[in-house]
Amino acid sequence: MTAATRTALQIRIEAFTFHGDDTPVLRDAALSVTPGSLTAVLGGSGSGKSTLGKLLAGWLRAGHAGQFRGSLELGGTVLEFRGVPEDPRINPAEWSRRVAFVPQDAAAMLSSVRATVAEELAFGLENRATAREDMLRAVERTAARTGLSHLLDRDPATLSGGELRRLAVGCAVIAEPDVLILDEPLASLDAAGAAQVEALVRSLCGAGTGVVLLSQAADRLAGEATHWTVLDAQTAHDGRTVTAAGTVTAAGTPAQLAGSAELERAGVIGIGGPGGIVPSVLGSGVLGSGGSGGAAGARLPGPVPAAAPGPGPASLELRGVGFGYAGDPRRHGTGAQDRVLRDVDFAVRPGEIIAVTGPNGAGKSTLLRHFNGLLRPSAGDVLVCGRSIAGVPVGKVAASVGLLFQHPRDQLFERTVLREAAFGLRQLSGKAPAEGKARAALAAVGLSGTEAAHPAELSASRQRLLALATVLAREPAVLALDEPTVGLDRHGLEALQGAVDRAAARGAAVVMVTHDLDYARRNAHRVLELSGGSLREI
């Protein structure tokens, strides 16, 4: 790493098209990475960020995964691709020694057959026949760097989101690559987890690794980058059809691009996190160290959402609810006496929006799962629309309670987007209105036109919106949303906000769980914190 200005990795994309697709997902894009630098690629959902990252890292290989026209340069060696069979072939194992990639879903990085964190870290070294003494040293060194030293004997399946992300980064950097590409490394992490990953990125850059950050938020970490590249899905008309492909619409320093029209068009979220989705406020505050800056919620100017609800019977009420995961050995550190929820009392009235915040692992998702009976309290009672749901099957409670899961992949199971949104609607509203309601819900979240697509083909942001549509279509009296903002770009956030507002306006009680306190304060009538198993207003 002597020549700090030398380019470590460079890509020039004329076009990249997946096999089976007619139109490219990326075109006219270029990126170069220098050792020790932090480069941010910013763009909204579906802009092709992940595709770019996987191309750079050899996870998507020319000829193998799709047709690539352009070039890749690594350490002075240039590979030219013309989209023909004679194109050079990349060996992913060799390439990843120099260029490592951590996917958005950190769990997908793991081998899943290793019993401990230490063995998972060593997996890549084992495959390269590294001597055992060297492996022991490398594991120790990497664990210290990623803050995993105290977790080396843990089963990877029991790690928290932040720990899992650091393990995935550890697996990527144990072979000391020149370049590390991180896809949405802060998504779904709480403040403490995000701070740990940010510190890790800084130390890697300091040690000479060129880091590429793929993100749909111009957050604090992106603010530290020396260079920003804005990717946006640009539509093109070629006579009959309209196609969209990710392309670079702007590139420069953060100071040059902050508040630019290109950033806004791309749907990039401002520095305040999902709460601060108004890009015009990005401006001067973008490089500040604080999180909130001056960014206001979508409802300028005030932080107050729709009118507070009037008096009336509660749509949802929890009376002295207690719960623990006793007896589940996979949940680390929970014993019979270690309750996730203790004596929780809480009520939501029609039209009211309540946010529940708290750190990762506080039991927020556990709380939501009590609303429709997926989990049953070990003490106390849950009442929906004034009636106890004890003994009522989840499928029956579902008529009144809609639950958006934390991971859209857990919510989506159908073959097409329309079937997904319409699942279960027939029993609820009859055959004829079911499809109409499904289409209306899809339109409400901006997914019109995707009815025939397979849910797995949608971008992460659109998968979350589809999951939201499946909940909205049922028009439940209680809307329970688990981390609804994670993975959404600005356009997605606007769709979410509109949907929540409309639901509250028609009288639904909304409870959303989020680790983003800023967002909670701007968009809810009341904010509660779940900590130590109890709820308190903040």
Partner: protein, 252 residues
């Protein structure tokens, strides 16, 4: 706590128990081996799992043995009951009992092994014997697949229940909802496999060439000696069986 057994030692024990039981063809021995397996399972706290899995495999098997040999056994002389062509003979029942207990013993022994073996130890031990790592991975995945499938199935069911699917208590209702979960399950597993394959490739899993192992599994000389002795004993049992049945076979 007894010293930890090398996975090859427990595997050898399971194989030898199965071979000796089969070679002996003596139902009291089969019953004794099956009972020993259950007692060992109970001491490991997994008797419930072993017996449940055993019941799923063995109930249809033993029933079919009973029907096949209990009712239709041409060599049977002592007829206990007869309905048309179907004859219940003492010899037929004896044969069914012999075969049923033998199979039960083998199945329980192997279930005990697969539920008690430390998969990471086994994979590491296999890798140490220059067995292709892909084999070890497939083996480990097969043993970890069941919990993964169960977890995925549970999440799909929760998603469907959340959208109004009512799961009744009856078997028919459960089977009906299981049918709705099969296609999503297979698609989700394929999707998982696809994304994991890219990561495995990048981490050098597909590369040819030698491997090393981070995990070290102790293999004391005493256990190696014991394994050799157990294999010799099993081979002797087979040889003894062949020698013992040779003249009988020729005479009949």
């Amino acid at each position: 706590m007894t010293p930890r057994l090398h996975p090859f030692t427990t595997l050898t024990l399971a194989v030898c128990a199965a071979v000796v039981t089969t070679a002996a063809a003596y139902w009291p021995l089969s019953v004794a081996v099956a009972l020993a397996a259950v007692i060992l399972a109970a001491r490991h706290g997994i008797a419930g799992r072993v017996l449940t899995a055993g019941a799923v495999i063995l109930t249809p098997l033993c029933l079919s043995l009973l029907v096949l040999h209990g009712l239709f056994f041409p060599e049977g002389q002592t007829v206990l009951a007869q309905w048309g062509p179907a004859r219940v003979t003492a010899e037929g029942l004896g044969f069914a009992l012999e075969l049923g207990t033998r199979t039960t013993a083998c199945v329980l022994v192997f279930l005990l092994f697969s539920f008690t073996v430390s998969v990471p130890d086994l994979v590491s031990a296999l890798a140490g014997r220059r067995i292709p790592p892909q084999f070890g991975f497939v083996l480990a995945s097969t043993l970890t697949l069941l919990p993964a499938v169960a977890g995925r199935l549970d999440r799909i069911r929760q998603a469907q229940e959340t959208r109004g699917m009512v799961v009744g208590r009856g078997l028919l209702s459960r089977l009906g909802t299981l049918r709705l979960q099969m296609v999503p399950l297979v698609l989700a597993l394929i999707d998982d496999a696809g994304s994991r394959a890219q990561a495995l490739d990048a981490r050098g899993f597909g590369s040819p060439g030698p491997r090393t192992s981070y995990r070290e599994v102790a293999d004391p000389p005493a256990q190696r000696l014991f394994r050799a002795a157990a294999l010799v004993f099993a081979a002797a049992a087979v040889a003894g069986r062949i020698v013992a049945s040779w003249p009988t076979g020729a005479a009949s």
